[in-house]
Symmetry: C2
Subunit: 217 residues, 2 copies
DNA sequence: GTTGTAAGGCTTACGGCGTAAGGTCTACTC
DNA sequence: GAGTAGACCTTACGCCGTAAGCCTTACAAC
C-alpha cells in the first residue's frame, strides 16, 4: 500500500549535493545531512557513490557540465570570450567548486568534453598546437583565478564592502597601508563600482595578446 | 630538575602547521596532530590560536609573508614580473595555500602589506587609480589561477603524466576527445615539455597589454 | 507458486574531528 | 606567604566518514 518511494540515483544524489553546497557551503555537505535531505540514511548513499571523494568529483563534473560550450566552428575569439564569461557565471553560482577543482584529480566526462571542445575551437582557427596550449593555459588560469578572487571577497554589495573595509582599516596602524587605502576609498568604494567589471578588462587583454601571437605566427 | 620545556608561541604553532600541511596536505592538519608534534595536548593550542579558522588564517598570512616584494621605486614591469614569479614559486611550495586563500576572508598583516606594496609600485609608475585596479586584478587572477591549475595536475614528472594520461584515455570511448588527445600526445607528453613554462607566456601577455594601456593613457 | 539472487536501503559501531567547560600547575607580583 | 594570571591538561559532547553485516523487496528461472 505504501507507494514506492522515489528511487535514489547517482544523479539525484549529485544534484542534492550541489544544491546543499550552494545553499550552505561545501562544509555543509555531509553524508548524513545529504541522506536526510533525500529521505534516506547516510549509508544508503554509498550504493550510488563510491565514497565522499567520488561524490566531490561528481559535483565538480556537474558544475563543468553547466558551462556553455562554443558551437563547433565558431569564430575563436567570440567562442573564447563567451566560454570564459559562462565559466565565470557558473563558478559564481557555485563558488565552492573552485576550491574543489584543485583537490580533485579525476576529471569527469563533462570536464573532458569541455576541454576538448575549447582546444578544438582553437585548432580549427589555425592555432598551432603550441599556441593552443599557451592559449588554453592562459585563459583558464585567468578565468579560474578571477573566480577564485571573486569568491574570496568577503562582501557582495558596496555597503557590505564599506563595512568590512572600515573594520579592517580600524584594526590597522594609521597610515600603514596608504596605497591600499587610496585604491579602496577612491575607487572601489565609489558608487557604481563593480568588481565584476574588472573581468572583461583582463580577458580582453589576454585575447588581444593571443590574437597578436596568432597573426604573427 | 625537569628543564622547562620550550614555551609555545603563536609563531611556533603556525610554523608547525605550515610544515605539516607541506608534508601531508591540508587535511593532515588537525589540532590533535599538531599538538602531538609540538609535544602538547590539542586544547593547549587554543591559548595561542582562537580556533581552527584563526589557525588557517595565520597559515595563509605566513605564506604571503614568503612572497618577495619589489623594492620601492623599482621599474614597474620588472617589479610585477618578479613578484608574480615569486608568488608562483611560493604557492608551488605550499599548494594547499591556494585552496585556503579562497575560504579565508580575514587578510593578515603580511597580506595587506603585500598588496599595498604592489599597488604602490604601480601608482608610482604613473598608473591611474583605475588602471592600477585593472592591473592588480588581472595579474593576481592570473597568478593564482595558474598556481591553482599547477596544483591540480595529478603528476609531477613526464613519466607520471604519461601514466595518468594513458589510464585516462583507456577509460574513454575511443576517439571521444580527439583534440585533447592530440594536444596531450603531440605536445605535453613530448620530452622536455614543462607545464611551468606556460606561466611566462601568459604573464608577458598580460604585462604587454598593461604596458600598452599605460602608454595609451 | 516457489525459490534463488541481486540490489537498495538500514543498523550498529569505530576511530577521528573541533572545541566547551573546568581543573591543575607554575611563575611572578605585592 | 598570599594572590593572581596564564599556560597547559582532562574530560566530554556532538559531529564526521565509512566498514561490516542485516533486512526487505523485486524479479528471473523453474
Amino acid at each position: 500500500m505504501s507507494e514506492t518511494r522515489a528511487r535514489l540515483t547517482r544523479d539525484r544524489v549529485l544534484t542534492a549535493a550541489v544544491a546543499r553546497a550552494d545553499a550552505g557551503g561545501l562544509e555543509s555537505v555531509s553524508m548524513r545531512r545529504l541522506g536526510e535531505e533525500l529521505g534516506v540514511e547516510a549509508m544508503s548513499l554509498y550504493t550510488h557513490v563510491a565514497n565522499k571523494d567520488d561524490l566531490l568529483d561528481g559535483m565538480v563534473d556537474a558544475v563543468f557540465a553547466e558551462i556553455e560550450l562554443p558551437a563547433v566552428g565558431a569564430e575563436w575569439r567570440t567562442a573564447m570570450r563567451e566560454r570564459a564569461v559562462s565559466a565565470r557565471t557558473v563558478l559564481n553560482r557555485h563558488p565552492w567548486a573552485i576550491r574543489l577543482m584543485q583537490s580533485r584529480t579525476a576529471p569527469g566526462p563533462a570536464t573532458l568534453r569541455h576541454h576538448d571542445t575549447v582546444i578544438g575551437t582553437l585548432r580549427q582557427a589555425g592555432f598551432t598546437v603550441e599556441l593552443t596550449a599557451h592559449a588554453f593555459s592562459a585563459i583558464d588560469a585567468y578565468v579560474y583565478g578571477f573566480a577564485l578572487q571573486e569568491a574570496s571577497l568577503p562582501f557582495d554589495t558596496v555597503e557590505e564592502a564599506a563595512e568590512v573595509g572600515a573594520g579592517m582599516f580600524e584594526r590597522m596602524p594609521a597610515g600603514a597601508f596608504p596605497h591600499l587605502v587610496e585604491l579602496t576609498v577612491e575607487h572601489i568604494l565609489q558608487p557604481g563600482y563593480d568588481y565584476g567589471d574588472e573581468f572583461e578588462f583582463g580577458l580582453e587583454l589576454i585575447l588581444d595578446g593571443l590574437d597578436r601571437a596568432h597573426r604573427a605566427r
